[in-house]
């Protein structure tokens, strides 16, 4: 474009293909951020992603790094196996809330407690996206899902789990942050948090996780724009944003 300079474009490591995500889905935004951070940190050669069973199961089609698919919930165990064999790689799992906070609870907690030098990108959209919108451990009280037709009942189903806060007492966790991708401002903050998490790993400080509130318009049965509003008004009060833990380690 004559007289014009490109200031934003598609990141280098986001493959030039259409994705399968629903319109307005937060996963696609998060994919882009990962591609950007990987480019900026120049770690494409040594990054390994472990995509989940969940809507992001096909992440290998989109982000241009090596990947190994994990069984549902076992991402951090797989990452542990890989990282222990390849300590100089940047190994990260990508997990949904069902994957991470329900079926994968034990693996997550023990990986975090061991302080595995891995990073978890935790996409909290409050539902099981891929399987069609069932209750997730992070579903809000009162939220209707296909398995809570009358809304999540805190008495029978329990309240939503706040994973960042929950993990923070564990010594092994070095960086824990909750962000969101419902507005440009929050997207930029998310990117920063992802970068910090990777950096934490590269400094070998311990386990790092970024929990990202992410819109699932299809299963929330809201428009993309209303989904962003729901994050702002419905979710953030329950899941406050910010760095939940950042361990200060002496420079070594």
């Amino acid at each position: 474009m004559k007289g014009m300079k490109k200031v934003i474009g598609r990141p280098k490591y986001l493959k030039e293909v259409p994705n399968h995500y629903c319109p307005g889905c937060g996963h696609s935004i998060i994919h882009r951020l990962l591609a950007e951070v990987i480019e900026e940190l120049d770690i494409r050669d040594r990054a390994i992603c472990i995509p989940p069973c969940g809507c992001a199961v096909l992440a290998y089609y989109y982000i241009d790094v090596d990947m190994v698919e994990a069984a549902h919930g076992r991402g951090t165990a797989v990452a542990t196996g890989m990282k222990r064999c390849l300590p100089d790689r940047v190994v990260f799992t990508y997990q949904g809330d069902g994957d991470l906070a329900a079926i994968g609870t034990a693996e997550l907690i023990h990986s975090a407690n061991r302080g595995e030098s891995i990073t978890t990108i935790f996409v909290n959209n409050g539902v099981y996206g891929m399987t069609g919108g069932q209750m997730a451990p992070t579903t809000m009280v009162g939220q209707k899902t296909t398995t809570t037709p009358k809304g999540r009942n805190s008495v029978t189903d329990g309240p939503p789990l706040k994973m960042c806060e929950f993990l923070s007492p564990l010594d092994g966790t070095a960086f824990l942050a909750r962000t969101s991708v419902h507005s440009p401002k929050h997207i930029q903050k998310t990117k920063k948090a992802i970068r910090q998490a990777f950096q934490t790993q590269m400094n070998d400080e311990g386990f790092s996780m970024v929990e990202i509130l992410s819109q699932c318009p299809s299963n929330w049965k809201l428009s993309s724009v209303d989904s962003c509003r729901w994050i702002e008004e419905g979710m953030i009060p329950q899941f406050p944003l910010g760095v939940v833990k950042q361990r200060q380690t002496e420079p070594s």
Binding site: H20, C22, C55, V57, M130, T131
Partner: protein, 178 residues
């Protein structure tokens, strides 16, 4: 004899509803019937389709690999399914959303601008009922009266207005090919 129809379109077009209505009518007529939707792919896509099989003998497979009828409500569906329609089969096309022509010469094609017609009727969402009406005309899987009965029962409880509008749409589509 068993007849099979594939109905295909977007997610929000009421495709599955058409199929279920048809299947219910067939059951009411004491015919053998199966209904099969494409199901909840673990990965989302924009399309929906279903297969209805109706006959007077046990239906082996609910899948139609060679359907007698094809109802297409949008362009991708035409691309996807036209090749498997049986020779001499019937293809009903909603031309409001499908602008291309079928490339096959060996099938009968019926065209109806259902969305426009629905708009005229004052409810864009009734397009599926219009097409269903047309389908009842060009096929003979079930009697239109039975479908009316089913529509009546389905919507009466919800809203008599919607029921009336749907019935109207159904007849409009039926008459279109008279």
């Amino acid at each position: 004899m068993i007849h099979k129809a594939i109905i295909a379109g977007f997610g929000g077009q009421g495709i599955l509803m058409m199929g279920v209505t048809l299947a219910n009518a067939a059951m009411r007529e004491d015919k053998q019937v199966t209904y099969l939707p494409t199901y909840g792919a673990e990965v989302r896509g924009g399309t929906a389709n279903c297969t209805v099989s109706v006959g007077d003998e046990e239906i082996a497979s609910p899948i139609a690999s060679n359907p007698d009828y094809l109802v297409v409500m949008n362009a991708p569906s035409l691309h996807k399914f036209q090749s498997i329609l049986r020779k001499g089969g019937h293809c009903l096309v909603n031309t409001s959303l499908v602008h291309e022509k079928s490339i096959r010469q060996d099938v009968k094609v019926y065209e109806i601008a259902a969305s426009e017609m629905a708009e005229e009727l004052g409810d864009l969402r009734a397009a599926n009922m219009i097409v269903l009406g047309s389908f009842l005309k060009i096929s003979s899987m079930v009697k239109p009266e039975t479908v009316l009965e089913i529509v009546d029962e389905t919507f009466r409880r919800k809203s008599p207005e919607v029921m009336e509008r749907n019935k109207e749409a159904l007849w409009a589509g039926y008459r279109f090919f008279e």
